[in-house]
Symmetry: C2
């Protein structure tokens, strides 16, 4: 109702709703750009990008899941798809035979390099350029802090 539920004050509400809608807006637009220009989703791009940051372009599945903000089963399937299209390979881990590495293939590197151009341009255009230096610095610190897991009381 019009009467309703307003137990966050104005600034608090704007910050929270802003988080939801800014994320949605940015995610959708960056996703759409990558799909349109390079035929990969943002989710796939993230997996390639985080893989490229590991030793020799290879990362353990669990680290990858954590970095890509997805469940392990979700990651398994994303990687399955990227393997199917030749951008990643699996390699069994020798020290721990339960483990698996995802490894970038040459094609994967090529695709990543190309997509990164588009992606970075998009982040600049839709996010960075809309913020002042101070805002950017504040966002960086504040959002990082919010990302830390909360202790449940």
């Amino acid at each position: 109702m019009a009467i309703g539920i307003q137990w966050l004050n104005d600034v608090e509400m704007r910050a929270w709703r802003g988080m939801l809608s800014a994320h949605s807006q940015l995610y959708n637009i960056l996703d759409e750009e990558l799909i349109r220009v390079h035929g990969i989703t943002f989710a796939e791009f993230e997996v390639l990008a985080h893989t490229s940051e590991g030793e020799g372009g290879s990362v353990r599945m669990s680290s990858l899941a954590e970095a890509a903000l997805v469940s392990r089963s979700g990651l398994t399937r994303r990687v399955q798809h990227l393997v199917a299209v030749g951008m990643l390979e699996r390699r069994r881990c020798k020290e721990d035979k339960r483990g698996t590495f995802a490894v970038l293939t040459p094609l994967g590197m090529e695709k990543l390099r190309a997509a990164a151009v588009t992606h970075v341009k998009g982040v600049r255009q839709h996010m960075i350029s809309k913020l002042s230096r101070e805002e950017l610095a504040t966002l960086a610190c504040a959002l990082e802090r919010l990302a830390e897991p909360s202790n449940k009381p």
Copy 2:
């Protein structure tokens, strides 16, 4: 590779990754709390909340979709489910016979009121309390601005 792709500088990267992980962290924890305590998802809560903000607790489907940051088809199904469990009703629009209103039922209001307590507490605990006044104000303005649709060049 370690060599890789670092075309956003440190602050820019922290802000962008912070957005992704803060959103993920907050969304998941608030969603989980609502499910555990009240048996409704955050997505459903959002629909109830936005419905309650309309005239007499009723809102057109399209407005609701926009407010809840979901596609129209996605909204149709969320509402279908909330109708099935008795929290919403549909009402045909008399001025425009194509249109449909979603209307809160007494049960829906009750559930919303209860869930809102949990939700607001969660937002305070996991977000607001972790930010200074200045940070909160900056986030509110900056995120709101980022949420505005970009003009495509």
